[in-house]
Symmetry: C2
Subunit: 343 residues, 2 copies
């Protein structure tokens, strides 16, 4: 039986979904993998923080947050406000990093993950920033420390696009990647097909918590650009940042264009592409019309797809239907269990 | 550096494609995984057999077969005609089993794999028969011997449907499986949409080597039934044989039905299904009409798809486009490398 003390940095929708999943799967994980765990530390953005070396009751933490209460009352030792000091004080073996994303430099998530690895923790994140801005350095440090840096949930939520190539497809050279990777824009385009204006569709996406108050990161293609960059960085083993992606968002797509495509048996999709030719990688994010013979045609709402072309399998596609915080949470759980199984 | 001596039982299209892939990837595998290999033994169905403890030149073996010559001249020691005696004599560490499939009892492949594991070899197969008729016994023997029994290529060629759940999706409970898993029938239905009669489409599938002389195994849904049984057996961890599948083939689908579906914006697909309810599993293979909003609608020709519903990810789909002997061969190579990496 192996025991792990878990730390959570960032405890919003995804962190809380992960806590619920850990509670639900606790017995199964113990029986099937001989792995047990306790929550050593939780740090939220604005709802307090707690450290308890004997284990925080996750149900109690969720209940406090549901009731609008901060977590500080669960702390049995001082819990530093500074995140790096918090990590040093918490004594955990595993970090789940879920702080907000930065497209430009990956901070402060990158520092959190580096510090956790330095302290000898496994480090898992749903945050794309550190993958595009620090993959090689994080991977090297993890290898040096004999720990894992995994990040399955950063692209396509819990769908195992990274694990697939890390664990099950050895000796595969990836030549091209295509996909619909941003849920918000796909939901907006789907709703515009049903007659909504762009602004109405954006407002709807905001109302259900999919789009942010400033929806530019999705609509202008930044999120998609960061995701295709993360896939290039890891699956093509070539560092690649989002500013190198030829990027166009969906702001200019009109209801008339949507209707014209539909009349022609086509649909608009915000398509991410990366192609390797003569050792050079070209990447783009742009609205494209796809026909009903394309897998992308069937991708509705928040569903996402990636098609990966390799020298050994031709085109292999992965589709995740109706993802949500619970599937992102599962990606983090899978990262934890895959690391722990290999310990 | 780890070295493996490989044995090939069955050396037709798939075995030869595997040999070519091993030759092409030899240096990459050595550099990336510190794994080397040699071909200790090859047994064909009707083109002779050879054992050479110092390593058979795979290029020479392929050249002999291309020239219509038997392999016997490559043997430096006596190569028994009986397959089990052959395995005992060959001194290999790894068996690639690619003899013809038996839907009813999985033999003789099952005996080949059991013998190889008994002898301390890793055992890999592209043969569905032993999976549906002997999975638990093969898995138990492999565990007892500290070896691997892998079979990635038995369903969807090299697409990692088994590896996905074995290696990257821990603690996932599979509740339902749906898919288009038989290439021959899907090719026939696709060609009937283009105006061919059933018989013309069957003749075409036979002419390109996809359908057998007696195409009943595909057309009557047996191959699909074996594949859904293999998925149930492994992913739902419940032994399941093809005779328990409610099975209908595509023999009765008329050109008129095909045309009517097309006029209605639909397509006929031979759909495999398995659903677990209250601990009971119901499985079927039957022709069904799908709409353009279904992923299955886009599955043309020999392409295949599986959608797996689990308690943690909802629906996750895997699509393999235009497979062939080279992708089946890759599944076997992946099995070998995944086992060797864990040694």
């Amino acid at each position: 039986m192996k025991h792990y003390k878990l730390a959570f940095l960032g405890f919003g929708n995804v962190g809380q979904a992960l806590a619920r999943l850990l509670i639900r799967k606790q017995e199964e994980i113990k029986d099937k993998y001989a792995i047990t765990f306790s929550a050593a530390a939780i740090a939220t953005g604005s709802r307090g923080r707690a450290i308890d070396p004997d284990g925080i009751d996750l149900n109690a933490a969720l209940k406090l947050l549901d009731g609008g209460q901060p977590l500080d009352s669960l702390s049995t030792v001082p819990a530093p406000q500074d995140n790096l000091a918090f990590l040093k004080a918490c004594g955990a073996d595993v970090l789940f990093e879920n702080t907000p994303v930065s497209y430009t430099d990956g901070q402060p998530a990158l520092d959190h993950l580096m510090t956790a690895l330095q302290l000898g923790m496994h480090a898992f994140t749903a945050n794309k920033g550190p993958v595009v801005h620090g993959f090689r350095q994080l991977k090297a440090l993890a290898e040096e420390k004999g720990k894992k840096f995994f990040f399955e949930s950063t692209v396509m939520d819990g769908a195992p696009v990274f694990g697939l190539f890390r664990d099950t497809l050895p000796a595969a050279q990836v030549n091209a990647i295509h996909g619909v990777l941003n849920s918000t824009t796909n939901l907006i385009l789907t709703r515009m097909e049903d007659g909504e204006t762009f602004d109405q569709a954006v407002a709807y996406a905001q109302s259900i918590g999919i789009a942010e108050t400033d929806p530019g990161g999705d609509i202008d293609g930044w999120d998609a650009a960061v995701k295709i960059s993360a896939l290039i960085t890891v699956l093509m083993d070539t560092p690649f940042t989002p500013d190198r992606v030829d990027r166009r968002g969906i702001r200019e797509i009109t209801p008339e264009q949507i209707a014209a495509a539909q009349a022609d048996g086509k649909r608009w999709k915000l398509v991410c592409s990366a192609v390797k030719e003569d050792g050079k990688i070209l990447a783009s994010v742009a609205p494209k019309q796809v026909t009903s013979r394309s897998l992308m045609y069937t991708i509705d709402g928040t569903t996402s797809i990636v098609t990966i072309r390799s020298d050994v399998l031709g085109d292999l596609s992965l589709v995740e239907t109706d993802p949500g915080p619970h599937t992102t949470a599962y990606g983090l759980l899978a990262d934890f269990l895959n690391a722990a199984r290999a310990d």
